[in-house]
């Protein structure tokens, strides 16, 4: 029996998410251009809202299902098997955790119901080198927001922006005057926005919270996002190895399946070792987060650091093993590879997490 990946968190939720992801992948393949794909992603988003995914870990009194983080990890993992291009980690974990600064905030329930679709912007968001980063400035007692954020992952047609800047948590309707957005698809087909803020006045009720708690929550939210990204990418890697093995077992050159060549068998064995060690680390990080260990951040940082390296090397090996096919947009394996490459940049790349770890070791 050829290799089949063992899910980090198995179960019905995982199976359901794998199925939805596979259907979405097939549906996207039929869309002719980016605009049609974006419209289709909006339908996919409505479908997962209907299934209650964004409500998974919300408390019941906030309109949620009161599930565990592990339930969410099962969904993220299943979605990862076909690189479902939806912002699951952001919408289901990062946004609720930030909003948790204001217990009972009505937007929680609206998020769960899909009426609110929120784009979260964490500290240190990317900006173009020639563009001003986000900045708050006081002017006659009115706070104003200016600057640019490049390529922020977002749900379809975002209704709000939830921004952590300095020690403030800001909530702004996306239609606020002075805010503009250019929508793009990332290399993993998810939606992202280039947001520009042109001296946008911030009314006092737009500042949801302020102080150390905001900073702490932002860090925790980033780690929740990072660990879910790792879970999802690990399952993507597992699926990618399965697909690579299937290709090498059926593609015949020189009168024999490619998989009979030791060079390629070893390359797949290397992919597998990378994947297994990643899976080990990610499993540990997931457990640490679920148990709310004091040092959970460290496990998350190591897992994400490892994802940077392992994800890219698995993606590159898979492309190489597929030959010219690996260079085509139409191949599911290529799409998984692009997701793995992209996943590194979500919630801090390998250098970001290396810096955190080194800083902690110095102290």
């Amino acid at each position: 029996m050829p290799f089949t990946a063992t899910p980090l968190v198995a179960g019905d939720a995982f199976d359901q998410a794998s199925r939805i992801a596979a259907e979405a992948d097939a549906g996207l393949a039929q869309r002719p251009d980016a605009a049609a794909e974006a419209a289709f992603l909006a339908q996919c988003w409505a479908q997962v809202v209907e299934l209650g995914w964004p409500a998974t870990i919300l408390a019941e009194e906030d309109g949620g299902a009161g599930g565990s983080f592990s339930d969410l990890a099962a969904l993220a993992g299943g979605a990862g098997r076909a690189a479902l291009p939806l912002p699951l980690a952001a919408a289901c974990a990062v946004v609720p955790h930030l909003l948790g600064a204001v217990p009972g905030h009505p937007l929680l329930a609206e998020t769960a119901a899909g009426a609110a679709r929120i784009c979260a912007i964490l500290p240190g968001a990317a900006t173009d080198p020639d563009a001003p980063p986000l900045r708050l400035a006081g002017n006659n007692g009115t706070l104003r927001l200016s600057g640019q954020v490049a390529g922020a992952e977002m749900p379809p047609d975002p209704t709000h922006l939830l921004i952590v800047l300095d020690d403030r948590l800001l909530l702004l309707p996306s239609t606020t005057r002075g805010i503009s957005c250019v929508v793009a698809q990332r290399i993993d087909r998810r939606l992202a926005g280039d947001w520009s803020f042109d001296s946008v006045p911030i009314p006092s009720d737009a500042v949801l919270a302020r102080g150390e708690e905001v900073e702490r929550r932002a860090e925790e939210a980033r780690d929740l996002g990072a660990v879910l990204t790792c879970v999802e990418a690990t399952e993507a890697a597992g699926a990618l190895i399965e697909q690579t093995i299937a290709h090498l077992s059926t593609r015949v050159q020189f009168g024999a399946p490619l998989g009979t060549n030791q060079a390629l068998r070893h390359r797949v064995a290397e992919m597998y070792v990378e994947y297994e060690t990643l899976r080990g680390l990610v499993g540990a990080a997931l457990k640490a987060v679920e148990q709310a260990d004091r040092d959970a951040w460290r496990s998350v940082a190591f897992a994400k650091l490892r994802l940077g390296h392992a994800g890219r090397s698995i993606a590159e090996a898979a492309i190489q093993c597929h030959g010219g096919m690996g260079l085509t947009d139409g191949l599911p394996a290529t799409r998984l590879a692009r997701r793995l490459i992209m996943a590194e940049y979500d919630y801090g790349d390998r250098f970001f997490h290396a810096r955190r770890l080194l800083a902690a070791k110095r102290h």
Binding site: A150, G151, V183, A263, Q320, Y345, A354, L358
Partner: protein
């Protein structure tokens, strides 16, 4: 005795030409690592042609420069250093020399001028869905009917077929016991009835390659190069001529320099210090590999000029340069990935600024994966090396 060539003076002459005659807008495209197309390559070829430099590698009698290998190498190097577009290779470096070596006088008269002045565009139809690394297993057939061949089959990965006029292609003209036999080389105009060209979308979002379907395509026997059944030999001839291709490291070094500038420009804050240092180290390692390849390239040129065999040098060059090239593009991705990989393609398509500035770093990283796949994949090169090292 022939006059000794002053290579330094030659280098100066080529540099002067490159800097004054290559349109600045072309040089800008190259400097920004943009994708090129016939729209750029053809006029540039025309400029070179008018200067008498259309075909650095061809003999003088066919309109070539008659340069020796060192001069040709210097020419390539200077062109890369000055950000001139590379000459498009399918006519000039591939089918042109094959026609010169094996074509009829009529074919030389008919095909060489259009290649030389850049007015006729060629693509290569070798690979098929079932024949990649194992090219000799190709199955597209050409059945003889009077003074025509009737061609049936499918080619794939045909680069730039969508902007080409002609395709040179390997087809099976008879079924021999040994699969390298019974293959012939045909020249097919792409507007012949029965040809369908379909784009293949590639990982970088660009249109480079195509599927070419051949359904009852009638090709005059006069369009066969050389003898029937000898196509494989001509293909091998072509590969042998291309064996020095890896010696030109200049474009990669140039790209490395650009990537180093990118690191310096984008990672200039104190918070970026660790990342900057790590990336600079990776670039140095790639540079070391490339400088080694460059030295080997000089050795290869000297060997060719002295008539010595090249041995494993071409495989070594191909492996190390393709690897180094990928390492460099990997660094570039690490610099810009977070802000540019999310902006792969605009959802609202149009508009003058539809593409995020710098997105070619991401596209080139993705497309750069091809370096270890085409032109003899890394695995195939390693097999060649190992077979010779072990002697079995």
């Amino acid at each position: 005795m022939a006059e000794a060539i002053d290579y330094d003076a030659f280098r100066r002459e080529v540099t002067e030409f490159a800097l004054t005659r290559c349109p600045p807008e072309f040089r800008r495209l190259v400097a920004e690592s943009r994708k090129l197309s016939r729209k750029v390559w053809a006029p540039w070829q025309r400029i070179l042609f008018e200067h008498g430099w259309g075909a650095p590698g061809w003999p003088k009698e066919y309109g070539g420069t008659g340069w020796d290998h060192r001069q040709r190498h210097i020419f390539d190097e200077v062109m890369a250093e000055c950000d001139c577009p590379p000459q498009y290779h399918h006519g000039l470096r591939h089918i042109g020399p094959v026609i010169i070596a094996f074509g009829s006088e009529e074919q030389k008269r008919r095909f060489l001028p259009g290649i030389l002045d850049g007015s006729v565009w060629w693509c290569q139809g070798y690979s098929e869905p079932g024949a990649g690394s194992d090219l000799a297993s190709l199955r597209t057939t050409a059945r003889r009917e009077g003074d025509e061949y009737v061609v049936e089959g499918q080619k794939t990965w045909t680069s730039h077929a969508h902007e080409a006029d002609w395709m040179y292609t390997l087809v099976r003209t008879s079924k021999e016991a040994k699969k390298q036999q019974g293959i012939s080389l045909l020249l097919i105009p792409l507007d012949t009835p029965g040809i369908t060209i379909r784009p293949i979308a590639t990982i970088d979002g660009w249109h480079h390659v195509n599927e070419v379907f051949l359904d009852n395509v009638r090709v005059p026997v006069a369009n066969r190069v050389g003898e029937e059944g000898q196509g494989w030999t001509y293909g091998k001839f072509l590969l042998d001529r291309e064996r020095l291709g890896g010696a030109n490291v200049a474009p990669i070094l140039k790209n490395l320099g650009r990537t180093r500038d990118l690191v310096a420009a984008e990672l200039n804050g104190e918070a970026d210090r660790l990342k900057r240092e790590m990336l600079d180290q990776r670039l140095l390692a790639a540079e070391a590999e490339l400088l080694g390849a460059q030295a080997l390239g000089q050795e290869a040129i000297a060997a060719v000029m002295d008539g010595r065999p090249l041995g494993l040098l071409p495989s070594v060059l191909k492996l190390s340069t393709s690897h180094a090239m990928q390492r460099v593009s990997d660094v570039a991705l690490d610099v810009v990935g977070e802000r540019l990989a999310p902006r792969f393609r605009r959802v609202d398509a149009g508009g003058p600024n539809a593409e995020a500035p710098g997105i070619e770093w991401v596209q080139n990283y993705l497309y750069g994966r091809v370096r270890t796949i085409y032109g003899g994949s890394s695995e195939v090169q390693k097999n060649v090396i190992a077979r010779q090292l072990f002697g079995f």
